[in-house]
């Protein structure tokens, strides 16, 4: 054993370091233990941890704007909104392309309701504009058509835009489909994904961009084929723009297409132009409101602090973070109220639960189990029934008021308001959460031998001193456990406050529920929930610092 003293680690009999062989011996045990808890671990991960992580993620996620309006978001980078004017045609052009794709994919209304959380009115603005966006470019279509009827033909466009490889694949695919059809077989293979001809993107950049978006959209959305569908009107606007800025574009093509293009390039100079901005303003004049644009710009990034700011009564504007309008500030008030009321409920539970738990732990077995059943009885009735019975008891025409009036304590025309306010909420929730205070208290008190109090008394302490100096400190762990249980349950409660809280007794969770199920503003709900979670964790930490978490016991 001498070699183990100073200069080397302790060695096992076979010469390996003792620590290492111990670890090896324990590994099998640990693996077995892990195997035992694995089902629960996986269940908790999937059903509890992952949703929480997902919720945290939702509170900052904001990809919908840049996903739906990619071109507009890029174009808006250089727009500073100064001068209080809406942006010019360039940005509206980008918006046209984005909007036609989004409208065809039915995504514009989703984005509209997302942005409506930030600025009222965007929802209907987007919905209305979605119906009108396909009109933009119709004038160009007419002018191209007047020039040559071939522009109306899907085949012209396929010849111009599609890669030869795709054309060949497409032909093969439609033959296979026709064969399957004649053999009366199911044919489920989708059309090969559209591919652009090399060089088109350089010669006709806008057209290439929007046409391939068109082709992919109708392929995936409507299961149509670009070989059969005439392009959207805005595609003609793109072609006009490309030809106007690059009259030489035809040189990149050959054959009929080159001829068509050179003919068009020569003619576009005389085309009647239209402004996409005017078209949008014509659909809804709100597009001229720079606030709409600064809202889009402010929420363009993929991640936003907007939800968190809203959750603390601030708002994100183009000019930075600002307080929410005073008459819409509600969340800080609700957070404070939730904390305050949860604390009140917690203290009421201590006040009411402590004596009961004390009694429970000191009564003989038979009486105490009867009393324990009474304590647990509320658990066996539905939450709604319990809450509703409090309504019956506390309302103005309710049992308690009736009794008070009958005794003469309260005048009939001046009955007490005990429900639909904070008082009612505290009463009902204290009742519901009381068992969560009593049970840990009881199980801790049960372990305090009566000899402590007797010892204190024999040492000369009065009943009160014996209780306060000797019994109470030993029941503190039970109070701690009860408080944590009650407080955390109370802070997230929403059914009872919803039913009996009236206007002054509702909690932040009622707003979270509203945003989850009614307004569908899940981002804000997630941010509120995250803040609530953080508040609970902070309070837990504070509790640990002050009381010590070791000082919590369930018995």
């Amino acid at each position: 054993m001498t070699e183990t003293t100073q200069d080397g680690p302790m060695l096992a009999a076979d010469g390996t370091p003792l620590k290492k062989s111990l670890r090896r011996a324990l590994r099998a045990q640990k693996l077995r233990a892990l195997g035992l808890i694995a089902p629960l671990l996986i269940f908790v991960l999937i059903s509890f941890v992952a949703p929480i992580v997902d919720m945290l993620f939702r509170s900052v996620e904001n990809q919908i704007v840049s996903d739906t309006l990619p071109r507009t978001v890029v174009a808006l980078r250089d727009w500073d909104g100064e001068g209080g004017e809406a942006p010019g045609d360039e940005i509206f052009k980008a918006l046209t392309y984005d909007f036609i794709v989004a409208a065809e994919r039915k995504e514009h209304t989703r984005l509209g309701s997302r942005l409506n959380y930030e600025m009222t009115g965007i929802s209907s603005l987007f919905r209305k504009s979605g119906r009108r966006v396909d009109d933009i470019g119709e004038d160009y279509l007419d002018q191209f058509k007047d020039l040559n009827d071939a522009w109306e033909e899907p085949a012209t466009w396929v010849a111009m835009m599609a890669s030869e490889g795709w054309v060949a694949d497409q032909v093969a695919w439609s033959e296979a489909r026709a064969a399957a059809k004649s053999a009366d077989q199911d044919f489920e293979t989708p059309e090969p994904a559209f591919a652009l001809r090399p060089g088109v993107a350089k010669a006709l950049p806008e057209t290439a961009d929007i046409y391939s978006a068109f082709a992919r959209t109708i392929q995936t959305q409507d299961e149509d084929s670009p070989t059969e569908e005439e392009p959207w009107n805005p595609v003609y606007m793109a072609l006009f723009n490309d030809l106007a800025s690059n009259p030489d574009a035809a040189s990149a093509f050959s054959g009929d297409v080159a001829a068509l293009l050179s003919e068009a390039a020569a003619a576009v100079g005389n085309f009647e132009t239209i402004s996409p901005k005017d078209a949008f303003l014509d659909a809804d004049e709100d597009w001229g409101d720079p606030m709409v644009w600064s809202t889009i710009k402010a929420f363009a990034p993929s991640y936003t602090s907007g939800y968190f700011l809203s959750a603390v009564d601030l708002q994100l504007t183009a000019s930075g973070v600002q307080p929410q309008d005073e008459d819409q500030q509600i969340y800080m008030l609700l957070f404070k109220r939730t904390l305050f009321m949860s604390l009140m409920i917690m203290f009421s539970c201590i006040l009411l639960g402590y004596p009961i738990a004390f009694l429970l732990s000191n009564l003989p077995m038979r009486q105490s189990s009867l009393l324990l059943i009474l304590v647990l009885l509320p658990f066996w009735t539905s939450l709604l029934v319990r809450t509703s019975s409090w309504k019956v008891l506390l309302q103005q025409q309710g049992v308690i008021n009736d009794i008070l009036v009958w005794i003469g304590l309260v005048a009939d025309d001046n009955r007490l308001v005990m429900i639909n306010n904070q008082f009612g909420t505290i009463v009902a929730m204290t009742h519901i959460l009381l068992p969560f205070m009593i049970l840990p208290l009881y199980s801790v008190m049960k372990t305090i031998p009566p000899s402590y109090v007797r010892a204190a008394k024999s040492l000369g302490a009065t009943d009160w001193t014996a209780f306060w100096r000797v019994y109470f400190p030993q029941s503190v762990p039970g109070i701690g456990a009860g408080c944590i249980l009650v407080f955390i349950l109370a802070i997230g409660y929403y059914i009872t406050p919803e039913l009996v809280g009236g206007t002054t007794g509702t909690f932040i969770s009622n707003r979270i529920a509203y945003h989850i199920s009614s307004s569908l503003n899940w981002g804000l709900a997630a941010a509120l929930g995250t803040i609530l979670l953080a508040v609970v964790l902070i309070l837990y930490w504070v509790y640990d610092r002050i009381v010590g978490i070791d000082n919590v016991s369930l018995g």
């Binding site: 999937i46 059903s47 992952a50 949703p51 997902d54 993620f57 039915k106 995504e107 209304t109 989703r110 509209g112 309701s113 409506n116 959380y117 009222t120 009115g121 965007i122 929802s123 209907s124 919905r127 309008d325 008459d327 819409q328 500030q329 509600i330 008030l333 609700l334 109220r337 309302q395 103005q396 025409q397 309710g398 639909n420 919803e498 039913l499 009236g502 206007t503 002054t504 509702t506 707003r511 509203y514 989850i516 199920s517 009614s518 307004s519 569908l520 503003n521 899940w522």
Partner: protein, 370 residues
Amino acid sequence: MKLKTTMLMAASAIAAAPAVVAQEMADSMTLVSWGGAYQQSQVNAYSDPYQANNAGLEIVWDSSSNEAVAKLRAMSEAGNITWDLVDVVAADAMRLCDEGLAMEIDADEDLAAAPDGTSASDDFGDLLVSDCFIPQIVYSTTFGYRTDVAEWNGKEPDDICDIFDLETFPGQRSLEKRPINNLEWALYCDGVAMDDIYDVLETEEGQDRALAKLDTIKDSVVWWSAGADTPQLLADGEVVIGSTYNGRLFSVIVEQKQPVAMLWDAQVFDLDGWIIPAGLPEDRLARVMDFVKFATDTQRLADQAKYISYGPARASSAPLVGKHAELGIEMAPHMPTDPANSKNSILYNFDFWADYRDDLDAKFQAWLAQ
């Protein structure tokens, strides 16, 4: 994002396990509605006759309409739609349509024409408020009052603005704990013409004006959040007058015979109907479309009114409305659409509320909390 999808799928797979089992059965369809008497009226008028003609079809009812919007979004994100047809109010239908969660329909193609050949789109008319919405009923939010209030000295309210008259009609009122309807009534009783209400409400001043009007009775208001609250409060004598859905008041007055009467003035019309979740597989979709075509035809909508006092959404159904199935009374006078009842009424402005709902709700809640 991958993780999220996987996880949501797993979570909803657990939650939706019973529904999945149901779908694997030969022929089954899950309909979502509001439960209670309303759902029962749909069973009686729609699904029972349909099943009589389609032996072997199983119809599963799920009473989750009050959280349909959130659940549909969760199902869609998880890529596992377990519902086939969902009953929602029009505002929710619009929201679902905007979110891409409901399928767009073509009224003339997908729905039955009226017996006289009028196309479905003309028969439903303006009630097709959203591309995804198939209206069933017109209901209204209106007021009921107790007829035995001593302090009123024999007077009974007959004007919506009596709600704001605490002098003549003292006592607690119950109003819904949301801005919708309340702000309209407040502005109307503050002197705004019926047609100007939404224009005024679009402005900051108009909103403040509406809240200021509500301020005058705020201390006497109990705020409800479930449709059953007001009937209960009226029956208990907790409030003397309160707003709720007209069908709820019908059952308090006619079925339970409580001393309560209807105040039809300035009732707010709203619509309830079906939406079909987007992304249903073809076989399920075909079945649902067949059911919807049957369940929203003229006769079926008229039949529903035998069981509940809501007006059929088709113009052609109105003349067919008959007597209550059990009580044997004429239902027409109890319909919100009855000419005598709808002399003065407000049509809920869906576009306005789609835009202003979040904003005004925040403002309203902040006002309530003050």
